[in-house]
């Protein structure tokens, strides 16, 4: 009467053998090798020039901070599309405090104003149960409006320009000497591959602002805090199953409030990073220019993990830096690099016997290589939006492998769990 089923349950763990940091190192190394090879084969040294990397770092910092803000909020279950608005508030706060009391005050001012935006989002989404995206969009409108008004009211008399703050003193920058100097020499020598790697490394260790260091510290601290402390466990449980968390005595509202306020503060810091960016030295209307959204995308790309977020922010910062510093030809050179990358993926997939994926990767590589050969320049009208295009392409390629916190974006009402 009973047909016996097979007794083994296929419960092979899905993770790979490498620990996650190991994979990060591997990916980073792979990316650097790819860029190096590309730079040498295409004869476009700016792909690995220290100036490109340095610009990339500078442009990645606000994105990283905004993304970190997104990470905090979404790990606690609140989608924060309002990062952009909080960032704008942060730019105003940073400029105002920075103008009066210098760069350290600017950092604090940015964080405080951003946190206020976060508080607003928390009130709307947590206490009132407003749809998270709706509230976020509204906060973006409000943040822009408030910054505009305050700028007209307070900056205009000093700067004589309603859209701009007076000059804010920036931080001094630091270089890891003598390492940076030594790498500089190496980069100058134009040695095959070696100089490219030196260029990349030099970009990372020279001209570093304290804010960049702070960002790295915050990234590491967020990781430790969220994944290795009781506070973090509680916070993440609110993003996974708030009803369960509440049933265990976790004050879900408080955790969410805290997370979203921290999220706002981090976004505000991102704003401060823009105000203190070299050459900028102040508030300017529209200066965030959608970086809050890109930060969110970087976090999604990073699979709601700090390490992944770092990778995402680095990718966007680098592509933005490259397109800013160079021209269509160099961006076109990237096509070559991405084609190489596709072929590496193809080999990996062939090895894993995933024929379709391998085919897709191989064909994509061919198409990109074809474009590289056929076109000799790209219009700057389009290369200016390289980070945005990269965002779309990267998400399209990776979105299905991602896993967001289970209760992310869901409205949670206290006591209404089953």
């Amino acid at each position: 009467m009973i047909t016996m089923p097979e007794t083994t349950v296929p419960t092979t763990p899905r993770g790979s053998r490498l620990p996650s940091w190991g994979r990060g190192v591997l990916w980073t190394a792979l990316a650097v090798v790819m860029l190096t090879v590309t730079a040498d084969l295409t004869g476009l040294p700016s792909i690995t020039a220290s100036s490109t990397v340095q610009a990339g770092v500078q442009l990645a910092v606000p994105i990283l901070l905004a993304g970190l803000g997104g990470l905090w909020a979404e790990r606690a279950g609140v989608v924060n599309i309002g990062l952009e608005g909080m960032m704008i508030l942060g730019t105003w706060g940073a400029a105002w405090a920075g103008y009066h009391w210098g760069p350290v005050a600017a950092v604090i001012g940015g964080a405080v104003l951003g946190a206020l935006g976060g508080l607003l989002h928390a009130v709307a989404t947590v206490s009132f149960g407003v749809n998270h995206i709706v509230s976020g969009v509204a906060i973006n409108l409000l943040g822009a409006g408030v910054a505009k008004y305050l700028s007209t009211l307070i900056f205009f008399p000093v700067s004589h320009n309603p859209r701009q703050s007076p000059r804010v003193e920036p931080f001094d920058t630091y270089s890891a000497q003598p390492l940076a100097g030594w790498l500089a020499d190496l980069e100058q020598q134009q040695r095959y591959v070696l100089s490219d790697v030196a260029g990349v490394l030099r970009g990372l260790v020279s001209g570093v602002s304290p804010l960049t260091m702070l960002t790295v510290v915050l990234l590491v601290a967020s990781y430790l805090l969220l994944w290795h402390t009781r506070f973090g466990l509680r916070l993440r449980s609110c993003g996974e199953n708030p009803v369960a968390a509440e049933s265990l005595g976790v004050n879900v509202y408080r955790q969410k409030y805290l997370a979203v306020i921290v999220s706002g503060a981090l976004a505000g810091l991102g704003g401060a990073a823009m105000v203190l960016a070299p050459g900028q030295n102040g508030y300017l209307e529209n200066q965030t220019n959608g970086r809050g959204y890109i930060g969110l995308a970087a976090m999604i790309f990073g699979n709601w993990r700090p390490g992944g977020l770092l990778g995402g922010a680095a990718l966007f910062g680098y592509s933005d830096g490259l397109q800013t510093l160079t021209n269509g030809k160099t961006v076109l050179g990237l096509f070559y690099g991405v084609a190489l990358f596709c072929w590496v993926i193809m080999l990996v997939q062939l090895f894993r016997k995933r024929w379709i994926m391998a085919g897709v990767a191989g064909v994509s590589g061919l198409v990109l290589y074809g474009i590289y050969l056929a076109v000799d320049d790209l219009p700057t009208e389009l290369t200016a939006y390289l980070p945005h295009i990269v965002t779309i392409v990267v998400l399209a390629a990776s979105a299905q492998r991602l896993r967001m916190p289970a209760a992310d974006g869901l409205i949670y009402r206290r006591g209404q769990g089953s």
Binding site: P5, V9, T229, L248, G249, V250
Partner: protein, 524 residues
């Protein structure tokens, strides 16, 4: 207090829990009214009552998730007032919810220590403590696996571990057996008995009377939000208990005579479906199935073995990798539904009572007549092709309300305003309105009151008698055995056994559901 608490043991010892005069009102309903309950230390105290009687509300009050409007709670002789679960936990009360309160993406250890990190941290000491508890009670689970990889029985172990970890001495179990097969129930009861010896007190909520009689030391019955009385389960009969619960005999799903014909309405052949996580693991594997006109085919299985996927694959809500689905309509025309969308399948004559009425059955904030259109947006009387027939929908909704005894003040109220039983009656009414040739009913009476349950059973029987083919999925083995003409057992995505409802016992079925009597077989 309608009957005095049974006094046993030392007179000086305070009872573990005493509830007096508990009253709780919600918008529109009084959930609890003047409830009295006394639980002695070291006993398993069952709390019986039908769905909607107010058991869960009462337990949430005891656990601090809700506050009573009136009444007092005493724990170990001291009057307490819990503002949150945290305070109840502190007083030594733990609760295992009917719907597990676990975060799928966290590990067992993380789930256990969550909220109680101050006891032993979240690291090595916590792990040691969990291991120690598991050893003492026999609740063994690997602390480092993610919850999503665990089966139902293991999840329940984690839930119990959770409350033990917090030092709970009084443990509320809210319908713990609802999702278990008989063998797992036995295992659970063994664990409970062992723990009772160690001095734990259990409050056991159930409406399965034989289970109550098997495990409980005393039983309190509540009906319509108030206590009817307390009895000794050893001396009371199931029938007496049932009368205390609903005031009359419980309805029975028993069908009388067979109406099975040899006309196959639904034929499923070689159905295969892979898991959505991309692992390629099959969740449905070579399913062959036929349902004939006038026949109820029951699918038995432990939750998570593919029943949901089978139903959704037949409904076209999931796309099978391979396999055929054929449906024969009243005129004998064969419709090949393979690869068709849900709407086409519904139009071909499938009615669908989903297992989760809130997620799949209703648009909660919309009116009843708007809900009537759902699934029928292309058919009369609610629609004329591209255009809706609002008046037709209203009229037909009134008919359903009348015929299926949906208790509502009108058809303009939002579906959310109805009770679970009335919502379910509306869905069943709607799905039987389209002159279906096949009804797929997933857990059609889960969480509804006795009246609605009886009505739904009666309607299914009646439709079956008129030649309807029914595919029934249920976790309630009595319902399954009572209603079905044929029972098929599902295990790990395959139909592994057939059973004859006339002869099979729940225990036999349970053995088959867990894999040929290997107790706990689905977890290693």
């Amino acid at each position: 207090m309608s009957s005095p608490p049974v006094t046993a043991g030392g007179a000086t010892e305070h009872p573990a829990v005493v509830l007096t005069g508990i009253t709780k009102r919600f918008p529109g309903v009084v959930a609890n009214s003047d409830i009295a309950l006394t639980v002695r230390r070291g006993e398993v105290h069952a709390l019986c009552g039908e769905n909607g009687a107010g058991k869960s509300t009462l337990m949430k009050i005891l656990y601090g998730m809700q506050q009573p409007d009136e009444g007092t709670i005493e724990v170990d002789g001291e009057q307490v007032r819990f503002k949150s679960p945290a305070e109840a936990i502190k007083a030594g009360i733990g609760m295992v919810h009917q719907h597990f309160m676990l975060a799928d993406n966290l590990t067992v250890l993380e789930n256990v220590v969550l909220g109680a990190e101050s006891l032993h941290g979240i690291g090595r000491r916590a792990r040691a403590r969990v291991a120690e508890l598991a050893g003492r009670t026999g609740l063994r689970v690997d602390p480092d696996v993610l919850i999503e990889q665990l089966g139902v029985a293991d999840r329940q172990r984690v839930e119990i571990l959770k409350v033990l970890y917090r030092g709970a001495k009084i443990i509320i179990l809210d319908e713990p057996t609802a999702v278990l097969v008989p063998q797992e129930v036995d295992e659970l009861f063994d664990t409970l008995r062992g723990m009772r010896e160690q001095g734990f007190t259990f409050l056991f909520i159930s409406h399965k009377l034989d289970e109550v009689r098997a495990i409980a030391d005393s039983v309190t019955v509540i009906r319509r939000g108030t206590t009817v009385g307390t009895a000794d389960p050893k001396s009371v009969t199931s029938r007496q208990l049932a009368e205390m619960m609903v005031g009359s005999e419980l309805p029975s799903p028993e069908t009388r005579d067979s109406t099975v014909t040899d006309r196959a309405v639904l034929t499923v052949a070689g159905l295969r479906l892979s898991a959505e996580d991309g692992s390629g693991r099959p969740v449905l594997d070579e399913i062959d199935l036929a349902v004939h006109a006038g026949e109820v085919v029951g699918i038995a299985g432990v939750e998570g073995n593919g029943q949901t996927e089978l139903v959704e694959a037949i409904m076209g809500m999931r796309h099978a990798d391979s396999g055929k689905v054929l449906l024969v309509d009243r005129d004998g025309k064969i419709n090949d539904l393979t690869g068709q969308g849900t709407l086409k399948r519904r139009e071909a004559g499938i009615g669908y009572v989903p297992e989760d009425r809130h997620r799949h059955g209703l648009l909660l904030t919309q009116s009843l007549w708007f809900n009537r259109i759902l699934g029928f947006q292309t058919r009369k009387p609610t629609s004329t092709g591209r255009w809706l027939d609002v008046e037709g929908a209203r009229a037909d909704t009134r008919r359903i309300v009348e015929r299926f005894d949906v208790r509502t003040p009108g058809i303009e109220v939002p579906a959310a305003a109805l009770s679970g039983g009335n919502q379910q009656k509306l869905i069943v009414g709607r799905e039987l309105s389209g002159e279906p040739v096949l009804l797929i009913a997933s857990h059609p009476t889960r969480g509804v009151d006795v009246g609605a349950q009886a009505l739904i059973w009666e309607q299914i029987k009646q439709a079956r008698a008129e030649g309807l083919a029914v595919l029934l999925v249920s976790a309630d083995l009595d319902e399954l055995i009572g209603l079905s003409d044929t029972i098929k057992v599902m295990l790990r995505g395959r139909l592994v056994a057939d059973a004859d409802p006339a002869t099979v016992t729940p225990e036999d079925l349970g053995s088959a559901m867990t894999g040929a009597g290997v107790a706990g077989g689905e977890s290693e």
